[in-house]
């Protein structure tokens, strides 16, 4: 049927012509789509997703909440939220984005609520709010009640709402489909070539505007909270088109991933009094952070755990064979277990067979979030360098780096970014397509790059094994490009990545079918994991300082010399060109009220 003998049989089966193409149908992509539909009813939109249905997107797994200052709040102020975000970013977020996002936050919460999101409520029936790490009143003095949430499934609430609105407005979904090549004409993006996995057909989608929102990419790490599909495909499309990616060295590790699957065990467990212990059951955080102890910031706690493990005070999990420390919840009162941490404790019971009321829980730092991504301006227009944009190409969500997070993200600011920036991009796209020319016919060379790559996979007949390369990559990235980095390790990692890339050219495909061929898709993904890992390692090597989640043992302090964003270009794996983009300091430069809080400030908690 769709099993092919010769790679030369690869072809584009059909052409679709919506006005807007959205690649990645998670929270950001569909918030954007909904905005376009509301502003310009009848706009034809195709949304492509790698998963079976938009509801299965990674957004759905987010737990915490969305930070937003309610204008009716008598004590909280937007400027406090802006300050917390700037401080959390270790002075490398862009202040124009911080301002735009924090100022529109509440309006976007209300939008979600009016469109049916099931927020948790106060006694008065209003949206309930709870405190979260790093969000404070009065420039860092006391915790703020600023996080709007839907129980412990806020991401699902957002996803269901924006998906529902997209359906309501007639957005057409191509599920279980992957964008494999971006299309350009005279420097303008005019769409993409998409492989539909369920029938094995390549389709060219030509659109006036293309929005990329493919999310994060931490599957190259041995322990990761990301879903199976987050393999950096979108970022590789950007790189292959000769465009830059930004700040990829900034990878957030959450300190408490559940050993094995890497599932997140929320900060709430330590907030309720959980204590981290090493193999001798010593509460080791007291030694590193005598005041904040177990509630020190995420990057700090992750480094402490890794130090314990590296100095031989960690354990090795008998089943998963992974190093870890313990999270002790045994001393917490029964009512806390029953009412406040029930769901998360359920993960320990379900996935590692541990009863947290009586047993120690195995945890280890887990790769969680990419602060960097495709560089955009404040309207989500993708940039080809520090100054110019690519007409017709937009990005939002975790995929994009505008950037709200700099080198470290605060909890609850990620979901907020999806909905605020998704809306901004929707607005911008609506205005653009009103006047933009039609994309015209399919570019002559459309598909040539991806067909050449797929030919390589289909014709390869080497002895190498996919799983061995994948596993070697994941251990390598965890060891040498993980929580701790240094010049020696990074240099070794870059050499080993080159070797792995070479080995990946000598795989052998098990089946030549194009229909739901997991093996073929995994080869394609492996190339992306290797390429993006290379950019992370090279960017980390070049940044000879420590900033937020990027920690260099050989340069443990932040340095004014590196007060810029990293731009990286790489059309062939390993052949990287680095450039810089300025950090936007517009709040500081405007010299308005409290501007001095937005200078280069110390990051102490």
């Amino acid at each position: 049927m769709r099993s092919i003998k010769l790679a030369s049989e690869l072809k584009i089966d059909s052409v679709l012509k919506p006005e807007v193409l959205v690649i990645g149908a998670g929270g950001a992509g569909l918030r954007c789509a909904a905005e376009i539909c509301e502003r310009r009813p009848g706009t034809s939109i195709i949304a492509v997703t790698k998963v079976h249905s938009p509801q299965k997107s990674h957004t759905s797994t987010a737990q915490g909440g969305m930070a937003a200052v309610d204008p009716k709040d008598p004590i909280d102020r937007i400027v406090y939220h802006m300050f917390d975000t700037w401080k959390g970013s270790d002075c490398s977020a862009d202040q124009n984005i911080i301002k735009a996002v924090c100022e529109s936050a509440w309006e976007q919460i209300v939008w979600l609520e009016r469109h049916g999101m099931h927020f948790s409520r106060t006694e008065e029936g209003r949206i309930a709010k709870r405190p979260f790490g790093g969000h404070m009143l009065n420039f860092g003095q006391v915790k703020a009640f600023r996080s709007c949430y839907e129980a412990d499934r806020t991401g699902k609430g957002i996803m269901d709402t924006v998906w529902g609105e997209s359906l309501k407005h007639g957005v057409v979904f191509l599920n279980q489909s992957v964008a494999t090549e971006l299309l350009f004409r005279n420097g303008r993006c005019v769409g993409a070539v998409v492989l539909m996995e369920q029938n094995g057909k390549f389709v060219a989608i030509l659109a006036k505007a293309t929005v990329m929102a493919t999310g994060g990419k931490t599957r190259m790490y041995q322990v990761s909270t990301n879903c199976r599909q987050n393999t950096g495909d979108g970022l590789c499309l950007i790189l292959q088109a000769g465009l830059p990616v930004m700040d990829l060295e900034a990878v957030q590790f959450h300190p408490t991933g559940i050993v094995g699957p890497g599932i997140l065990a929320s900060e709430a467990l330590r907030g309720e009094g959980g204590i981290l212990r090493n193999k001798d059951e010593e509460p080791f955080m007291e030694r590193y952070a005598p005041t904040a102890k177990d509630l020190a910031p995420r990057d700090v706690v992750s480094r402490c755990i890794m130090t314990e493990i590296r100095e031989g005070r960690g354990c090795v999990h008998p089943d998963h064979k992974l190093p870890h420390v313990w999270l002790d919840l045994r001393h917490l009162p029964e009512y806390i277990h029953k009412t406040r941490i029930l769901e998360v404790c359920g993960f320990f019971r379900k996935f590692v067979g541990v009863e947290p009321r009586h047993e120690l829980c195995p945890v280890t730092p887990t790769a969680h979030y990419q602060m960097g991504g495709a560089p955009t301006n404040e309207f989500g227009e993708v940039q080809k360098d520090a100054r110019q944009i690519v007409p017709g190409l937009y990005a939002c969500g975790e995929f994009a780096a505008a950037t709200l997070h700099g080198h470290n993200r605060l909890g609850t600011n990620s979901l907020l970014e999806l909905i605020t920036m998704g809306k901004v991009v929707g607005e911008r796209v609506t205005a653009y397509i009103e006047h933009a020319e039609n994309p015209g016919d399919i570019p002559k060379d459309a598909g040539s790059r991806i067909f050449s790559r797929f030919s390589g996979y289909l014709e390869a007949n080497g002895q190498e094994h996919y799983a061995k390369i994948r596993d070697a990559l994941r251990v390598l990235m965890m060891d040498k490009v993980g929580v701790f980095r240094n010049e020696k390790g990074l240099t070794e990692a870059i050499e080993e990545l080159k070797m792995l890339k070479d080995r990946a050219r000598r795989l052998e495909l098990s089946s030549r079918s194009l229909v739901m061929n997991q093996d073929l898709i995994q080869f394609w993904e492996l190339d992306h994991l290797l390429d993006i890992s290379m950019v992370i390692a090279q960017s980390a090597l070049a940044r000879k300082e420590s900033r937020g989640a990027h920690y260099r043992e050989d340069y443990p302090e932040r340095s004014p010399e590196f007060h810029y964003h990293t731009l990286a270009y790489m059309t062939d794996c390993g052949n990287i060109t680095l450039d810089k983009r300025d950090i936007d300091m517009s709040i500081f430069e405007a010299k308005g009220e409290h501007y001095e809080k937005f200078g280069i400030i110390e990051r102490k908690y």
């Binding site: 049927m1 769709r2 609520e113 099931h118 949206i127 359906l167 309501k168 089946s511 229909v515």
Partner: protein, 240 residues
């Protein structure tokens, strides 16, 4: 502690390129706390890269990896080997795709087709009530929210639809029924008549036989049958 089991998986295979279906046996050694999704990955890595299966979040939050194991619809990501051995009292497991949609390959079903039934009930506010006079959010008391909150936790894994004993193929199915009922109970929805017409239409409540299989298998432990019972009695707001 790191006990291993000798496991046999008898997996339904289907090759769309040739139209052939068969059952294939895989023997593997598995640690006690591996999940069934880990076993499939182990088969791909060590024995057979062609076996196709679906997953996404792999911690029971997205509902992609629903399948039948020894006849029971469940999420393969939350079934640990030792629990499966205890639950089914065997080391041999029959693994089949869900029956709610055509199979694309092996254990991968066409969820898009299954979702058609969810789309029929319009999983969004059809006609939202006018905003609160203050211009911000609607006011919903926690007590009202509590009456339908459990139903909002559904992830559309389609385990309930697979378990449902109703033989009529056109039945919307428990999860689509639930998606409709949630929005009848949500005070922000004003399109009540349209929703009730679908609810009690020929593919709605009359098809449900109250066998409660949906509640029994739901991985999120939602008492779906309770909500369908409320619907049958029209007792959505009685408990207030």
């Amino acid at each position: 502690m790191s006990q291993e089991y000798d496991i046999t998986l008898k997996i339904s295979r289907y090759d769309p390129d040739t139209g052939r279906s068969w059952i294939q046996d895989y023997h593997l050694k598995a640690g006690r706390i591996l999940r069934f999704v880990d076993l499939f990955r182990q088969i791909n890595d060590e024995q057979d890269p062609t076996l196709a299966w679906s997953s996404s979040c792999e911690h029971a939050q997205c509902g992609t990896c629903g399948m039948k194991i020894n006849g029971k619809p469940l999420l393969a990501c939350e079934l640990l080997v030792k629990n499966a051995v205890e639950l089914f009292e065997t080391h041999t497991f029959r693994v089949e795709p869900l029956t709610i949609a055509p199979v694309i390959r092996d254990l991968v079903v066409d969820l898009e087709k299954a979702y058609d039934r969810i789309h029929l009930v319009k999983p969004y506010l059809i006609a939202p009530a006018p905003p609160h006079p203050d211009g911000d959010e609607y006011r919903i008391s926690p007590r009202v929210l509590k009456t339908y909150e459990e139903a909002t936790r559904c992830i559309n894994c389609f385990c309930c639809s697979t378990a449902c004993v109703t033989t009529q193929r056109n039945y919307l199915g428990p999860n689509a029924m639930l998606a409709n009922i949630v929005r009848i109970m949500d005070p922000r929805e004003t399109a009540e008549k349209e929703r009730l017409d679908v609810l009690h239409g020929e593919n709605g409540t009359p098809r449900c036989r109250t066998a409660r299989a949906c509640s029994f298998v739901c991985p999120k432990e939602i008492d779906i049958a309770h909500f369908i019972a409320l619907a049958k009695e029209g007792a959505f707001r009685r408990s207030l």
